[in-house]
């Protein structure tokens, strides 16, 4: 009973955190554009703040830079269960242009933390990011919450 109630409530209240691991900002500003009245993230019950300790979904952008190699896991461990990781942009998936000789990045992201969904593109359009969050977010948050209990 309590679990069902919890999962219903969790579906319509998702907290999001943005983690830039060394990208160029392009994906970040497309995520900020999601807050604008045109896309309006908050009508779906998704609240964007940058606090990993309260987040359900973290959006990771960028190839993993030197400083983030250890810190990614630390941030990931601070997130309360259930935790969903969405990799936004091509950098997270393959390193994109940065993964060449002479660089100091260590892609892909799933070497460090488990990734639930990914959005390719450099940068992906806001509507694509929104679609991914809505596809993965609510059900996964509810289902993962049930597993944990």
């Amino acid at each position: 009973m309590l679990d069902t109630l919890k999962s219903i409530i969790r579906k319509s209240s998702i907290h999001m955190c943005l983690l830039n691991t060394g990208g160029c900002n392009g994906c970040d500003i497309e995520i900020i554009a999601l807050l604008s009245p045109r896309y309006d993230l908050e009508q779906y019950g998704i609240y964007f703040h940058n606090n990993p300790r309260e987040a359900d979904v973290i959006l990771v952008t960028g190839p993993v830079a030197e400083q983030w190699k250890e810190n990614l896991e630390r941030v990931y461990s601070k997130i309360p269960n259930p935790k969903i990781v969405i990799a936004v942009g091509a950098c997270c998936l393959s390193g994109h242009l940065y993964d060449q000789k002479g660089s100091s990045v260590y892609p892909p992201l799933d070497k460090f933390i488990p990734v639930d969904a990914s959005v390719p593109g450099c940068p992906p359009r806001p509507s694509e990011i929104l679609q991914t969050i809505l596809t993965v977010g609510p059900n996964a948050v509810a289902a993962k919450g049930r597993q944990k209990d």
Partner: protein
Amino acid sequence: MIIPIGPVHPALKEPLRLKLHTIGERVIDAEIDYGYVYRGIEKIMEGKTWQKSVYLAERVCGICSYIQTQTFTETFEKIAGEEVPLRAQFLRVITNELDRIQSHLLANSTYFKTIEHETLFMYMLSMREMIMDAIELLTGNRVHMAWNVVGGVRLDAKEVHLKSIVDILDKFESQYPKYPQMFENGPLLGLRSKEVGVMSKEDAIKARAAGPIARASQVIGDLRIDKPVYRDHFDFKVIWRDEGDNFARNMNRFDEVTESIKIIRQAIENLPEGNIRKKIDIPAGYADNRNEAPRGEVAYMIETNGNLIKNISIRTPSIMNIDACVKYMFKDVATVADALATYASVDPCIACTERVVIVDEKSGKTCEFDGIWNVKSVDLK
């Protein structure tokens, strides 16, 4: 007391560590840690052709991605000693100004979010979407436009597109003027931003601040007036203010948007006919080139052997602005919340370097860290 902020923090969109030294809530000094987004772009570019590096230049920064490619390609044109066709120069001006508008609106929206004024934050973002539409119409992409090549621009603009851009600008201008007025006349917004984070003219010069941040502190410099295409064909004025506080920095950006719209209208009206691209043979050589990015001066120094890039150095404006913010604006800011608002008002776009400032907490003085071999000069009790 030291208050650490970042690298992941509700107030910051990009990773950076601020350490605020406070007495009570009054900020006496601050330290800053860069290096969370270091990728080594300049190193990757070495030994590559310009066709491969132009994509990398675009990805130095996502917000002002356009001006990076323009400066990069103009440097190669300078090495070859040739000028691109006038139509291409005009198209570059249009895109540059559209990019400036969206960057300024985003910077102001971040400031309003930091001082918790959600209404203006939403207004700014909704205005920005119009400009993003115009950029997409012209170039085909929203953020990384891939618009410049050595010798001109990639695509020609059709009459229909230019007409719809003018329509978008008409709509934009009919709505826009009320937002600067809201900010200028709002009593609470004024309390929150006037005389907070003041930087004097002397400090701005000492810190090498650039762009709207320096212009808000009376350092009147805009590289656009030195550019031949801007100087000869466009009529615009350089916006500057004399207050030097958060209010001035935001108003400066608000007013620059209006000037940019004026430039775009002139460019579309007087757009010359002709080619958009010409073939340029690049000889071996060295050149440096500067341009006015939305945040200030961006400089590229490139040495090439005619085919491959031998050496490249990129200088972006944010690094000086963030340093100016930490060293001069944070002095005597009343609360930590105001310090964050001040930080947001300099439009930070995290570059990649590492600096250290050592603070003696009792006397509240700072001293430079000369390196580990000179550690005796610092009292490390």
